[in-house]
């Protein structure tokens, strides 16, 4: 993956394609789940702009660590969607050879150091990835995504402190999608702000409109540059929204209102970027439509690839528990 760190037509179209691919992938994943080919998944629809704006600045050898809801992180980081879809279906050709599934997609070659199903668990690991870059003397950057729910875990605070005192190249990116499962943000987060907590650790804390990929791009660019310079970590709180339920089977209207959903969906990240591209003449509707079609074709190919792939062999149950064990 080449970086798209300069704001120009190419970057805009890359961001558009990436976000559309994520959305179509998630829609298809839902259909696969409804067909019983996988059992539940956490949809990232609505949150596409957050990893896209940041990953525009990342190289293949920079690292991203994700959460239970991580398909968008993976796609934005360049993970192959054929292998992702195969992983969702538990196939041997999947990113994780069928061992991990929807919550644990990883691809080290693309710097995707894994989605993690335990809330907050990825944060200290990402801090260690930043430490490694620093000790090895590279300018690699470590980006960890987590939700508003994870902001209440102690490890976030321990990790921000460590990253600050050691000046580690880490981006702590909170996707504040307003809900920890069914529990609203304001019910569990004291002070009403996550980014404010950075002040206690003497690092920059930025709140950004996570529905605007342009703003994500700008804030991400600054934070990545700061990390690469060796100036240390940044905490970014991206204000975003999860359109679907927590894992698919739950109805979000059980805990939030239609008005609220409409408010956020009106500010949809893809809609906003489309308007920006068209209004400023970076591309025409036909150009975007052909990117849409390309994304759909790629998803169809991913499904075909996954469907035609074999399940793992029985013997694979015991492989990769260790490297050596005797």
């Amino acid at each position: 993956m080449t970086t798209h760190s300069t704001m120009n037509k190419d970057t805009l179209l890359w961001m558009y394609s990436t976000m559309v691919t994520i959305r179509r992938f998630e829609e298809q994943s839902r259909r696969e789940a409804d067909a019983g080919k996988l059992r539940g998944m956490h949809s990232s629809i609505g949150q596409e702009a957050v990893p896209t704006g940041i990953s525009a600045h990342l190289r293949d050898n920079d690292f991203v660590l994700g959460t239970h809801r991580s398909h968008h992180h993976c796609i934005a980081k360049g993970v192959d969607i054929n292998e992702m879809m195969a992983e969702l279906l538990g196939k041997a050709t999947g990113t994780n050879s069928g061992k991990g599934g929807t919550m644990h997609i990883a691809d080290i070659n693309k710097g995707m150091l894994g989605a993690n199903g335990v809330v907050g668990s990825n944060i200290p690991v990402a801090t260690g990835v930043g430490l490694s870059a620093k000790v090895r003397g590279t300018d690699q950057v470590s980006v960890v995504f987590f939700g508003d729910g994870a902001s209440s875990q102690g490890v976030l605070h321990e990790s921000m402190n460590l990253a600050s005192i050691w000046k580690l190249p880490v981006l702590f990116v909170c996707e504040n999608n307003r809900y920890a499962e069914s529990t609203p943000f304001e019910f569990t987060v004291a002070g009403g702000s996550i980014s404010n907590r950075a002040a206690g650790y003497d690092i920059p804390g930025v709140s950004v409109d996570g529905q605007s990929v342009l703003e994500m791009f700008e804030v991400g660019g600054e934070a990545v540059a700061r990390a690469r310079r060796g100036d240390g970590p940044t905490l970014i709180e991206a204000q975003t929204y999860r359109y679907h339920g927590h894992f698919g089977a739950d109805d979000p209207l059980g805990y939030r209102s239609e008005e609220e959903q409409e408010y956020y969906m009106d500010r949809d990240c893809i809609k906003q970027l489309t308007a920006h591209i068209i209004e400023n003449g970076f591309a025409g509707e036909d150009d975007l439509q052909s990117l849409d079609e390309k994304a759909l074709a790629a998803i169809a190919e991913a499904v075909r690839f996954a469907d035609e792939s074999p399940f793992p062999d029985d013997a694979d149950l015991m492989t990769d528990v260790y490297n050596t064990y005797a």
Partner: protein, 342 residues
């Protein structure tokens, strides 16, 4: 054989729910804490949006209010620790640790505080805390949401550990756990929540005694020991063995700490053969523990070495065919039983 239909059937989930409800009605010091146990935060029109990730606490917030049914942030170390403190100072809290695999986040609070305070403080402080937690593979949830891990907790003196096997024992053990003056961990297997059981669940509150096992099926040729979900597996295997002419006794362990050593030894002295079916990892497992118990204390009675049936020494795989291989099933138990019967 014609069996009478159970008089009052409840699902596993309804049974746990009823147990908590009845104890909260009986004792106002009982409170419940956990993530999304009601859901919806404090939004007036969105109360009880979830009722717990597994719906075990559905409806309770309406009856008991948010003072006693407390949704927490995702802060296991914080709210499990708060459960210990509340238990030490006059409440009888029930804390929901959504999945047992998350215990690592709050292990210090469980192993250093809940388990040890009573002893360290010279027996002067009680910790009447109940931790309920979801366990079990078979739902396509992969390695971090499918473990059982109960053997880890039985390692710690000071903790009691129980594993219900059906709605009747789910209700009775939950009530017993809440009333107990020591910390008790109740391990609820998610596969049991999706099975229809033809067992009678009395409406009135009752306790299933912690520390006692139950003979789920009598037999004479081999003892099959089950724990939670694997009790069902053992019963299925016993039916199959019966068809092949072997009489299997199924001992439903129910309580892992304390463990009903006596019942295990008694059964083995009768059948002279034992197969222990355990969904936890094989190393340092309950199956290993029982195997050692039997080898030490019933060696002279045994016609065959004790046999353990555990999953392999591997994390739980996501892919459906691999996961099906991982969990002990009827066929693996029948095979093991035939192995000791020969």
């Amino acid at each position: 054989m014609v069996q009478a239909q159970a008089v009052r059937q409840l699902s596993y989930i309804q049974a746990v729910n009823e147990a908590i409800r009845q104890e909260m009605e009986r004792d106002e010091t009982v409170i419940v804490m956990g993530e999304d146990i009601a859901g919806g935060g404090d939004r007036e029109d969105k109360q009880d949006a979830w009722g717990g990730p597994m719906r075990l606490t559905k409806g309770l917030v309406g009856d008991f209010g948010r003072q006693r049914i407390r949704d927490t942030p995702i802060s296991e170390a914080g709210f499990v620790g708060a459960g210990v403190g509340a238990a030490a100072s006059g409440l009888r809290p029930v804390v929901d640790l959504m999945y047992v695999s998350f215990f690592g986040v709050c292990a210090d609070q469980i192993t250093n505080n809940a388990a040890k305070i009573h002893y360290m403080f010279g027996g002067k402080v009680n910790i009447p805390l109940t931790i309920m937690t979801g366990i079990g593979a078979g739902t396509g949830s992969a390695a971090q949401h499918s473990e059982t891990l109960y053997s880890i907790f039985t390692h710690f003196p000071g903790l009691k550990c129980v594993v219900p096997s059906d709605p009747y024992t789910a209700k009775g053990l939950m009530i017993a756990a809440i009333r107990d003056n020591d910390p008790v961990i109740v391990f609820n297997n998610r596969q049991l929540m999706g099975i229809r059981f033809d067992v009678d669940v009395p409406e009135e509150a009752y306790e299933v005694e912690i520390g006692k096992s139950n003979i789920a099926k009598e037999g004479t040729d081999v003892t099959l020991v089950g724990i939670g979900y694997t009790t069902k597996v053992c019963l299925d295997a016993a039916a199959e063995l019966e068809a092949q002419g072997h009489s299997a006794e199924v001992l439903d362990l129910l309580s892992l700490s304390p463990m009903d050593d006596e019942a295990i030894l008694e059964s083995v002295q009768k059948t002279r053969k034992i197969v222990i079916v355990d969904e936890d990892y094989p190393r340092c497992s309950i199956a290993s523990d029982i195997s050692a118990l039997v080898a030490e204390q019933a060696f002279d009675y045994l016609d065959a070495p004790p046999r353990r049936v555990n999953p392999p020494h591997a994390p739980v795989p996501y892919s459906r065919p691999l996961e099906a291989l991982w969990v002990p099933n009827k066929d693996t138990v029948v095979e093991a039983a035939l192995g000791v019967l020969e």
